[in-house]
């Protein structure tokens, strides 16, 4: 499925005489793009929200785009009707915005049912307090929560439970290892479905990859990567099973006090939340084949489920609106505008020409190099602009753009997701892991994280390259 917004933009372009763009103008816009990426990399230092940073670049590039006569002003065609819209409105991929908005609402309301904390505590009790079992259960839970919720929420839930349960078991010496492994697994779990992470949504919808196809491709990799990460984690952080029956009895007694029903205020809502979650995943997975729904898209499905869940809290729905991450949504909207302007300024074409050399290396070397380059770039800056930009560039490629099965799409997806594991600022979820680590006053510097995470990230990236080259 090609993004509606891009199709609209295409329609606009067709009716607009695009002037020749000088190399100087293209380089000016390229410099602005690099400046924006750098500002995002130093977001914390600038004490500015992403939406403000990218929003400023959006209004700035729009102004310059108008000044250099790059933008396709005029009406756009929607279903055969000419509609006057500001140039920056059709530039935004509203399907992506709708998916994120609807999913956030749905997850936020569903989490009030106590479903996710129930699962988390149930697994803790089931582990009997054995560190190795706990690591495996928490690891798998991190992957599943990252896939179903989002990476940050998954890390917050599993990370905070890890702190509480290891403290209860007097195993604080394992906390650092647990949190690092969980942080790394969020980005593995973020690969599982089309809606598990924003790069997946952007690249997947741009490439026209269906939910099922996405899951079938990434599922086996996620399984293997999770197993390898956990196995490596037990070795590096020395996580062992409890040796004696006394130790096992004592640990079991300590975790027996966790009551999984504590956070459930209404059993009816708990079950409703569970049923709706399963239904949501099923409908999202089959959106592309469901009559009527397939035309409305995944954004519609996400918004619908979000609104159905809100019925439970209809009188206080405004509280949930306040909890929506408007910074993230503003960031996406502004980012789409910036990338659209960059497209008109031929910046994407310029980068695409450079990338063409890499693509020209072939499906094996070229794909592998894109995974590694994508991962490297994602490790130091936000993977969302990278994914959005590369998706746009690949769309423009006549061979790749028309082939949703091209390995280059997967190279971008795997690189953008796994690159977040190389540094603590590589992804929001690893940053959450580090924040929890520091909350417990455990010492871990930037270099310390890189040193500990590198073996995991390197193995995951190498696995990804091999997987895409040989199996996709």
């Amino acid at each position: 499925m090609v993004s509606t917004a891009f199709a609209l933009t295409g329609a606009t372009q067709q009716s607009h005489d695009v002037p020749l763009v000088s190399l100087g103008v293209t380089l000016l816009f390229l410099a602005l793009l690099i400046a924006m990426v750098l500002c995002l990399a130093f977001e914390e230092k600038l004490h500015a929200k992403k939406s403000v940073i990218v929003g400023l670049f959006a209004v700035g590039t729009l102004f310059l785009g108008a000044a250099f006569d790059l933008l396709p002003f005029g009406s756009v065609s929607v279903g055969g009707h000419e509609i006057d819209l500001p140039v920056y409105v059709p530039a935004i991929d509203w399907n992506v915005i709708a998916i994120i908005l609807g999913s956030s609402l749905f997850v936020d309301v569903t989490s009030r049912s106590g479903l996710f904390t129930w699962i988390a505590i149930k697994l803790t009790r089931t582990s009997g307090g054995d560190p190795l079992k706990l690591l495996v259960y928490y690891g798998v839970m991190t992957v599943v929560f990252s896939a179903v919720l989002n990476n940050v929420t998954a890390m917050i839930i599993v990370g905070s439970l890890t702190g509480v349960s290891l403290n209860r078991l007097a195993r604080n010496n394992l906390l650092l290892g647990f949190l690092i492994i969980e942080g790394l697994l969020t980005n593995v779990g973020g690969l599982l479905t089309l809606i598990s992470s924003v790069p997946n949504i952007i690249v997947g919808t741009t490439a026209g990859i269906s939910f099922i196809r996405f899951f079938l491709v990434t599922g086996p990799f996620v399984l293997v990567a999770t197993f390898v990460t956990l196995w490596l984690g037990t070795r590096i952080f020395n996580v062992r099973r409890l040796a004696t029956s006394d130790e096992r009895e004592q640990a079991a007694r300590l975790v027996a006090g966790f009551d999984e029903h504590d956070g459930i205020e209404s059993r009816a809502f708990f079950w409703f939340g569970a049923v709706m979650l399963i239904t949501f995943i099923a409908v999202i997975a089959t959106t592309s084949v469901l009559p009527l729904i397939q035309n409305l898209g995944m954004g519609y499905v996400a918004l619908t489920f979000g609104l159905i869940m809100l019925l439970r809290f209809k009188a206080v729905a405004d509280k949930f609106y306040q909890a929506i991450d408007w910074d993230l949504l503003g960031f996406f909207a502004a980012l789409f505008v910036v990338i659209n302007v960059m497209e008109h300024a031929l910046v994407l074409e310029l980068i695409g020409n450079g990338l063409a050399h890499v693509i020209g290396l072939g499906d094996t070397l070229g794909t592998g190099l894109i995974v590694v380059l994508g991962a490297t770039a994602s490790s130091v800056t936000d993977n969302i602009p990278l994914a959005a930009m590369l998706a746009k560039i690949l769309t423009a490629n006549p061979v790749i753009g028309s082939d949703p099965d091209s390995p280059f799409w997967w190279a971008v997806i795997f690189g953008a997701n796994l690159g977040g594991n190389l540094t603590p600022i590589g992804s929001a979820s690893t940053l959450v892991a580090v924040t929890i680590i520091h909350k417990y006053e455990l010492k871990l510097s930037f270099a310390g994280f890189v040193k500990r995470a590198f073996p995991f990230a390197a193995v995951q990236i190498l696995l990804a390259v091999a997987y895409i080259v040989f199996f996709v």
């Binding site: 988390a120 917050i156 509480v164 349960s165």
Partner: protein
């Protein structure tokens, strides 16, 4: 995501998980094989007192060895402690103001009991003074209605086990937890002066959580005791109030036969805060001091 917002979310989930981590009651039958009855009475009076104690504690069964230290056995605290050391009892039964006339006035436990309750490891059962007017009739009734009182019930297995162990089959065990309303009001007053914390929400949420913890623990006690002491009925009292007044009110309301409470505190050598005034003022019923 800003750091403050992130920390808030982490804290929210940590709070949810900590709230879900509840102390679970573990049953352990208190063992009393040897009991020491300490009295300042002599001769037949002393023996009568010992027999009354034995009757009252019928719940302990016939396997208890009852030792008697009467008024001739000790004349000083040191001598009494030496006797306790030699006898090494699982339970000491006595009354306030030994070798003293001060029992007539509700102002002290007497020097013997003051020291005894804090030094010995075993529980001390303090009976009403044998010469008090309202004593004997009540003492002979046995331990059909027992109340364990505390300001911090959740996780106090020792208190519940002892209270359950001293409750007659077919009897009722009241587990009473009273939060001090004055302390609570003081904290809420402080919170009301901090603009970053919503006072009404804090009052409601803190109170709910404070009362939920002992309630959850009592539920856990019931679940275990129904197996080990099936004939004992467990009742719950979890409330907020002026602790001393509230405990007195509850004791009067439910005609308690035996009151069980902790008196030792790891942080202080004297009997801890609430236990002392209760032990002094509640002179009409037997008190099991742990």
């Amino acid at each position: 995501m800003g750091l403050v917002s992130l920390m808030t979310q982490v804290d929210q989930f940590e709070s949810a998980f900590r709230a879900a981590d509840k102390p679970i009651f573990e049953f352990l039958q208190p063992v009393v094989e040897r009991a020491l009855v300490v009295t300042d009475l002599r001769g037949a009076d002393a023996t009568t007192f010992r027999d009354q104690v034995c009757d009252f504690l019928g719940v302990l069964g016939n396997g208890v060895q009852w030792d008697l230290d009467d008024g001739d056995a000790f004349e000083s605290i040191e001598a009494l402690l030496e006797r306790v050391n030699v006898c090494n009892p699982d339970l000491i039964c006595t009354y306030r103001n030994l070798h003293s006339e001060a029992w007539r006035w509700p102002y002290s436990l007497g020097e013997y009991l003051d020291v005894l309750t804090q030094i010995v490891d075993c529980p001390v059962l303090v009976f009403p003074h044998p010469q008090a007017d309202s004593t004997n009739a009540r003492m002979l009734q046995g331990t059909d209605i027992v109340m364990a009182i505390t300001t911090h019930l959740a996780g106090d297995n020792s208190l519940v086990n002892n209270a359950a162990g001293f409750t007659n089959d077919g009897g009722t065990l009241w587990l009473a937890h009273v939060e001090d309303e004055k302390s609570f009001a003081r904290f809420i007053d402080t919170i009301s002066k901090i603009d970053a914390i919503d006072t009404d929400t804090s009052r409601e949420r803190i109170l709910t959580q404070m009362l939920k913890e002992p309630s959850d623990y009592i539920r856990s006690c019931k679940e275990k005791l129904v197996t080990h002491r099936p004939s004992v009925r467990i009742e719950k009292i979890v409330t907020v109030g002026s602790q001393l007044e509230e405990f007195r009110r509850l004791i009067d309301k439910y005609t308690i036969d035996l009151l069980v409470m902790h008196t030792k505190d790891a942080d202080q050598s004297a009997m801890h805060g609430l236990a002392y005034p209760l032990a002094i003022e509640l002179r009409e019923i037997p008190l099991l001091l742990l």
